[in-house]
């Protein structure tokens, strides 16, 4: 029970990281004299195995019951030392760390200053350590199922992995079909596999897998709960086509009164579709959907005498009465795989994308060269006057990437290679065309990429170093105004077709998902991972993981690798069947809580609710903390007017003496 604190202090050299600007021996000697300190030592690397053994031995031999480690940030090694003292029989929460590296040696240049500050930090840590309380972590059951948001290649791969491991997966896709951007691609660099050939089997698998529940044309509306226990609400949007009855025959689309009138999203608007449509022939599920905005019956209330689609549909699948449907389920983990948008080229008006039909984007080129595309793979383009087969073709790279003027400073990573790929595909189709690529750097960093780039150049694709500044028209030609920077020659290059190597951007609608899951953005505006190196698929919200281009631009190999990483991380709680809940959570002193519920409105994790309790014979409202949701952030504690809610280990009585020891408080 109540026992006298016996503190051990361990000052780390961290090689010379700390010891070059902090006199560690002086710090240790100083600590030795502090109240309740039994022993103080220094060691070259406290986190190493011998370093930990040092602590464990002291605990056993000297009967220590509190440990202070003065080393690096607790973000690095707090778990390491907690585990070590626990192994020696001390409650893991009887540990306090003094960060004398990031907060001390790395920010001071003079050893005197560094040492003086280290002493204060250690003194403060000892002051707090004496007052720590023993805490127990709890475990709760985890639901053995996962939610995957977005069914591009990232979401598909993650779902298949989790489902193959035997867990249930709910795969939610916003559009009528799975596949994402990869489904739109023709061939894929650097190996030139046909995109559909490698993707379609996976798409089919995810619709037929017994463990995957595919919710296409659906959106997540609400997610509450915490790791292991998320409650999810999904809206299945009305397709106006009975999912079970529709055979995918396509008779309706062929008969639709507004047949082939609307720009096909899949063909980047270059092809047309009807109001009732399948996004593309290999779409999964192979079920038709009515676009309510453009359907005559749904938008105007009348489609001729009778809706044509209804007339011809042999399966009687058309159902104009259909309503959105809400589905609810529980999962233990969530994977966000919502992908990217391509850069809107009209935001660089100097390239005339909005003005000239023969200035197109890389995504449009994918559809143009594809045998399943709007031209059947024939490269034909309207130049404002007539349809031509272009002879002079220019690619422009880095459009909307590496460019402060449009707010995108990052490199999009895939455009160098897809431009090389498309140049190769054009060369294949048009041996006589003059193809040039305007570039400022060629980033061919992946496996097989440089080799592919070498091959494409030797196929007589001219790489000219200069990033074009402007495109205008002269007669029937487009003039690319650019400098060949290697010869310092300003050029006005006359061409028939310009392909803009547009970059990747965060999705315009990403905020919806951010708000659902409390995710953050990195400076490039893509979703922020928990650690750029060591936790690249995790987020700050436990149990929520990232896969694919929603986290940053990537090619397919990297997307798939990350998806597999996210799947394996998500499966940890599912496989264990249990999750550990943090012990350093807030607790309420129900005797003093005034029931004002101020903390409820403050808590960023919605972890607090009001409950009625009996206090000395009176029914009163008090705050109660859901320990599974609480992150121990302390916001409530700062707000509470009666000091009734405080995070364990960070109670006033623990941190005020710590601050006092720093010499800040009197």
């Amino acid at each position: 029970m109540t026992e006298k604190p016996k503190v051990g202090v361990y000052v780390c050299h961290c090689g010379i990281n700390i010891s070059s600007t902090v006199d560690v021996d002086a710090v240790s000697e100083y600590a030795q004299k502090l109240p309740n300190v039994e022993v103080a030592r220094t060691y070259s690397y406290m986190c190493s195995d011998p370093g930990q053994v040092l602590i464990k031995n002291d605990i056993r031999e000297l009967g220590l019951n509190r440990v202070v480690v003065a080393s690096c940030s607790p973000r690095m090694h707090e778990p390491t030392f907690r585990k070590a003292i626990k192994e020696a029989g001390v409650n893991p929460f009887f540990l306090e760390m003094a960060n004398i590296r990031e907060q001390c040696s790395w920010v001071h240049e003079e050893i005197e200053e560094g040492t003086a500050k280290a002493k204060k930090l250690v003194g403060a840590a000892v002051a707090k350590a004496r007052l720590l309380e023993a805490l127990e972590s709890k475990e709760v059951d985890a639901e053995p199922a996962a939610l995957v948001i977005g069914a591009g290649i990232a979401g598909i791969q993650a779902s298949l992995d989790i489902a193959d491991a035997g867990f249930k997966v709910y795969l939610v896709e916003k559009t009528p079909s799975v596949g994402g951007r990869m489904a739109q691609l023709d061939k894929t660099f650097p190996t030139l596999d046909c995109s559909a050939c490698i993707l379609t089997p996976k798409m089919v698998d995810c619709a037929s897998h017994p463990n995957i529940e595919l919710l296409s044309y659906s959106e997540v509306e609400e997610i509450t709960g915490f790791i292991g226990n998320f409650d999810v609400k999904v809206r299945k949007k009305a397709r106006y086509v009975d999912f079970d009855k529709c055979t995918g025959c396509g008779d309706c689309a062929a008969a639709c009164r507004v047949k082939d009138r609307f720009p096909s999203e899949f063909d980047q608007g270059m092809g047309k579709r009807s109001a009732i449509y399948l996004p593309f022939p290999q779409a999964v599920p192979a079920k038709y959907t009515i676009d309510a905005e453009n359907c005559l019956f749904l938008s105007k209330g009348k489609c001729g005498k009778n809706p044509k689609c209804q007339e011809v549909c042999g399966a009687e699948a058309i159902n104009f009465e259909q309503q959105d449907e809400m589905v609810e389920f529980k999962v233990g983990a969530v994977i966000v795989a919502t992908g990217f948008d391509t850069f809107d080229a009209s935001r660089k008006p100097e390239y005339g994308y909005a003005d000239y039909p023969n200035v197109i984007t890389g995504m449009e080129m994918e559809r143009l060269v594809s045998a399943s595309g709007p031209t059947g793979g024939k490269v034909k383009i309207f130049n404002g006057k007539e349809e031509i087969e272009p002879k002079e073709i220019a690619f422009i790279k880095c459009v909307g990437s590496r460019d402060k003027s449009v707010g995108n400073e990052y490199c999009s990573r895939v455009c160098c290679m897809y431009v090389a790929k498309q140049a190769h595909l054009l060369r294949d189709k048009m041996p006589d065309a003059n193809i040039r690529v305007y570039y400022m750097d060629v980033r061919a960093f992946g496996k097989g990429f440089e080799e592919f780039y070498d091959r494409v150049r030797r196929e007589n694709v001219r790489y000219i170093r200069g990033n074009p500044s402007e495109i205008f028209k002269r007669g029937d030609k487009l003039v690319v105004k650019v400098e060949d920077t290697l010869t310092a020659t300003p050029l006005e290059d006359e061409v028939d077709l310009v392909v803009l190597g547009v970059g990747l951007e965060p999705r315009a609608d990403m905020r919806e998902v951010m708000d659902l899951l409390r995710l953050s953005q990195s400076p490039d505006r893509f979703f922020l991972e928990a650690h750029p190196k060591l936790r690249p698929v995790d987020t700050a919200t436990e149990g929520v993981f990232l896969a694919g281009c929603c986290q940053g631009p990537k090619d397919i190999p990297d997307t798939v690798a990350q998806a597999k990483g996210a799947a394996s991380s998500a499966m940890i709680p599912l496989a264990r069947g249990k999750v550990t809940i943090g012990a350093q959570v807030a607790s309420v002193n129900e005797a003093t809580c005034r029931g004002c519920s101020f903390c409820v409105s403050i808590c960023p994790y919605t972890a607090i609710e009001m409950v009625t309790v009996n206090r000395f014979g009176h029914e009163v409202e008090v705050a109660r903390v859901n320990e599974a949701l609480c992150k121990g952030c302390g916001s409530c504690s700062a707000a509470c007017l009666s000091d009734s809610i405080q995070p364990k280990s960070f109670r006033d009585r623990q941190i005020l003496p710590q601050i006092a020891a720093l010499g800040v408080l009197k």
Binding site: P349, E350, G352, C398, R402, D403, K404, S405, M440, D441, R465, G466, N467, P468, S469, E470, I471, F472, K473, K481, V482, E483, D484, T485, A488, P490, E492
Partner: protein, 378 residues
């Protein structure tokens, strides 16, 4: 504030450059002059070479259109490297006499045209103009511009504005003859010291007036105040912005009609630099009968007329086709009757070309205010 002197490299962020070539690629004068601004950004890194670079004639070919700055992906302003080099020459005093006289005139008379300050308000003669007084509140305070104030060719801009404002009955006042040059051309000619002085004096002078906003007649003043006067209290407008506002409020109505095909030329200082594209077009379209057509190279892709960057005082040695000639020929191809602009400098350069090409009979270059002036109801 740190008193350390920035090096040339630091001042112009030369290390931020990735040598992409967008600046030179976009530079309109490369088709007729030897200027390669990217190469200057590259070479200026070598401080020992600066004197040599400053002596190169092509640094005076830059028209300060700012295309290079607008296009630079890394936020550099390449033209300012050229201006930095110009300032080394200006400091040494080895400038053309025309430049020297213009700068001297700004210093002594507050305008680069070697006119007397006392004559700055002469254009107002015979007009009922409201004059601003310090401290007296006014909604729209007008800043005229040296060129419009003194050059009879473009004075109509100001005169018509007065008639229009009186007609519309809005709260306005013009600055008295103490109004001084905004320094646009002083800056681009590289007279750094004089420019700093103008910024200080003009800021102090203009801040004494209690205006809701300052309306400039020239886009050069407009952009200069917006970008180089951080301590100016009052928001700056170009007159086309104000007039469109009045148009929407129904305060402008036109008489007669103008059965003409008009092509609008975007001045660099208003479009690329000021981001004002729609208002001038809307004004033109509001005149009954007018048909507005567009250059292929319009808006963000507009071609510079070579009027800015101090080019009024430095003649180019190039014998190749002037950009203003290219522009007028394009207008001819469009069968435009009128080339409309919203800048006094553009009026002069384009009209020169129009006359030089012998199109005087069938074509006209006009400032939007001139056209509007012809349609103000009595």
């Amino acid at each position: 504030m740190s008193t350390e002197i920035q090096t040339f490299t630091e001042k112009y962020d030369l290390l931020g450059c990735i040598q992409c070539g967008r600046c030179t690629g976009g530079c309109p004068v490369t088709v007729r002059a030897n200027l390669n601004v990217r190469q200057f950004v590259y070479d200026a890194y070598n401080e020992e070479k600066l004197d040599e670079l400053a002596r190169l004639a092509e640094i005076w070919d830059c028209t300060a259109c700012h295309t290079c700055a607008v296009r630079c992906p890394k936020g550099l302003k390449p033209l300012e490297v050229l201006i930095g080099l110009r300032s080394m020459i200006v400091e040494s005093g080895k400038v053309e006499p025309t430049v020297r006289d213009a700068l001297q005139s700004v210093l002594l008379e507050g305008n680069p045209w070697e006119k007397s300050r006392a004559a700055r308000s002469d254009w107002m003669e015979g007009l009922d103009v409201k004059i601003a007084e310090p401290g007296v509140e006014v909604e729209n305070l007008f800043f005229v511009c040296c060129t419009i104030a003194y050059d009879p060719r473009v004075q109509a801009i100001a005169k018509n504005m007065v008639r229009l404002l009186n007609k519309a009955g809005i709260d306005y006042a013009f600055l008295p003859e103490e109004e001084s040059c905004c320094g646009s051309e002083v800056f681009t000619l590289g007279e750094e010291g004089l420019f700093e002085m103008l910024v200080e004096d003009n800021t102090e002078y203009l801040n004494e007036y209690s205006a809701k906003r300052i309306v400039t007649l020239s886009p050069h003043c407009f952009t200069t105040y917006k970008t180089h006067y951080p301590d100016l209290k009052t928001p700056i407008l170009h007159y086309t912005q104000l007039l469109v506002e009045l148009l929407h409020e129904g305060k402008l109505t036109w008489k007669g009609d103008l059965q003409k095909r008009i092509v609008y030329h975007d001045p660099c200082y208003l479009g690329k630099q000021g981001d004002v594209y729609d208002e001038p077009r809307e004004l033109l379209k509001s005149i009954p009968g007018v048909e507005v057509v567009e250059f292929d190279r319009s808006r963000e892709r507009s071609l510079c007329c070579e009027g800015g960057g101090g080019k009024m005082w430095v003649e180019s040695e190039s014998k190749k086709e002037r950009l203003a000639d290219t522009r007028i020929k394009d207008a001819k191809d469009l069968q435009a009757d009128i080339v409309a602009v919203a800048c006094p400098f553009c009026v002069m350069t384009l009209e020169d070309s129009m006359k030089g090409l012998g199109f005087e009979e069938e074509m006209r270059v006009a400032e939007i205010m001139e056209l509007l002036g012809e349609h103000i109801e009595a």
